[in-house]
Symmetry: C2
């Protein structure tokens, strides 16, 4: 059983401070933080408040035993996610077309109107889902928002996942689409983006393209990237139980990532890009939220990129748990985030 929070936000601050001083008098290097009741912030929109105050993600601590059992859980979630997509595409005036591109499965998201400055540009999207979830069309939600809010043509890579294939299949599929993109528009006009596992794969794909001597994208935007699968990073602890999506270290997402890694060393830069050689990376925009379990992943990646001389910029959104800005297109902060990413691509991509 868990001990209930001894304090509540309705008690006076003075009482809390008096009680806390007892705890702090010990002052150990390990910081003992008492139980707390944390209110939903009033500094975000009412729509975002609902996302921050929502129950924790289903299945966060349900661990199927085999890849095949994972697939049952994954497919159920994917069917649920896919049901919402037709309305999203209608709202944002975006058309979808499944294609096979250079041998890789993909979906092409095309806005009904593409402004002149974006007609010779192309974005490649790598979806999230802890390297195991969001197969097929269900992985296109973030790509649809980018196409809709940014008015870019977007190719969303439906990369192979367990149990169909394991590391590094996802990177190979993204590289295949990147190569194909070079026959469509100049390499400098290609942007690469995606969040969570998609953020990790965005970074890993650039590392692989560097290794293979391929032209790099003109700019990349990895959101809250799974940049360090070894679970190093302070916010794995400070934001544990505060992030209602990833919840804590060792929960479902990490378990799925290890399934994908399939026994490979988690410090391999193609699995944990924060350990990679980042010199020569294109301009990069990283995004996270103050409640994000991967805030440390994000800011560590940003500092490493800056230290490697890369033009990296950072956005951190008030109160947001993991990847909240692409949960619901009707949230004002979602539009704000995608318009920020669009301005970044507009600034850095060739025309």
């Amino acid at each position: 059983m868990i001990t209930r929070a001894p304090f509540c936000c309705s008690l006076s601050i003075i009482f809390v401070i008096t009680a806390w001083s007892h705890a702090l008098a010990q002052s150990p290097p390990v910081r003992d933080v008492p139980a707390r009741s944390i209110p939903v912030p009033e500094t975000v929109s009412p729509q975002l408040q609902r996302i921050i105050g929502a129950p924790v993600s289903p299945n966060w601590n349900v661990f199927p035993k085999t890849a095949a059992e994972w697939k049952v859980q994954v497919d159920a979630a994917a069917a649920e996610a896919a049901r919402r997509l037709p309305a999203l595409r209608e709202q944002l005036r975006v058309a979808i077309e499944p294609q096979t591109i250079n041998g890789a499965r993909a979906y092409v998201l095309t806005p009904r109107d593409v402004p002149a400055e974006n007609r010779n540009r192309l974005l490649i999207h790598v979806h999230g889902g802890c390297y195991v979830s969001n197969p097929g069309e269900s992985g296109t939600s973030e790509a649809t928002m980018m196409a809709g809010f940014g008015r870019f043509k977007v190719i969303s890579v439906d990369y192979r996942m367990p149990p169909e294939a394991y590391f590094p299949a996802a990177i190979e599929d993204t590289i295949a689409v990147l190569k194909a993109a070079h026959s469509m528009v100049p390499a400098r006009n290609v942007g690469l983006f995606g969040s969570s596992a998609g953020g990790g794969l965005t970074l890993a794909t650039v590392l692989k393209a560097k290794q293979d001597g391929l032209p790099l994208p003109g700019a990349i935007a990895p959101g809250t990237p799974m940049a360090d699968l070894t679970e190093a990073g302070d916010t794995f602890h400070t934001n544990a139980m505060i992030d209602n999506v990833l919840i804590a270290r060792g929960a479902s997402c990490d378990t799925r990532a290890r399934l994908y890694a399939n026994g490979h060393d988690l410090r391999d830069p193609l699995l944990s890009p924060v350990y990679g050689d980042l010199r020569g990376f294109p301009p990069t925009m990283l995004l996270s939220g103050t409640r994000d379990l991967l805030l440390s992943n994000t800011v560590r990646m940003h500092r490493k990129l800056r230290q490697a001389g890369v033009e990296s910029v950072l956005e951190v959104f008030e109160g947001q748990p993991h990847g909240a800005w692409y949960r619901d297109a009707s949230v004002p902060e979602s539009k704000d985030a995608f318009e920020e990413i669009a301005r970044f691509f507009d600034k850095h991509l060739g025309k």
Copy 2:
């Protein structure tokens, strides 16, 4: 009495997750977070680990009753801080000279060597200390690091504080120095920076300069700004007791800020710049840390600036509590931070 943390980091993750699932089953909009023991992160330098693992700041919950009693506490801390400054100046090869500039008390920090590109540039520093602390020379530590790591000439404003004077005296003194700077170098060659209360005052000074029709600085760098004295913001809750400097809402720093405000409406943009009209602000660099109680202040300010069309950039440092990057010049992350600020000023200031 406080309930001791029922879990410890040495227990297995699986056990923690099992226990936590009971707490989460309730899923209320208010998030109940159980007691935790948070280790010092291994993703920062050993020197920074000592700062993150240090005991909480003295006097965080000691509240003198009058401005005169505050002065006794403040002077004792200032004497302690000032003792460390000669060694810091020697280490960074920076000279100090007290001056009265346009009627305001100030200290001029001059590096032994100023590179050619900075000889026609000037930085103005506004120190922190919750609007009440760090009088006289004791407020020059951050300015000394900026002068030393960035090789800029820096004027640190020793603005009037309670009980000598109250809001808006600090802004008046900074404006006086800003006006004087315009007779020394072109306005575009002036940078303005400072952290905590100094970050709030940096922003408030630009708002006041706008109101008064003065030329604005060429760029500003407010660190972890006290940009919202109403105590709104999610990290006041999520980072409570995790930040070992500010500790929690309603602790000493907020009490000092209210002493300075002296009964004025805390939503006045000259006290809480996040509520101000930010259009036309110069390029801005904001800085914070993942454990900072004012991380929300910082990222909210950043988004407001971006939404007002300002070229604002954000730096968030791994594991750092409030203002950790200017505590100790021998910490590698301090050098990294000041060199980042220096590059920002170099990019945006006139020569």
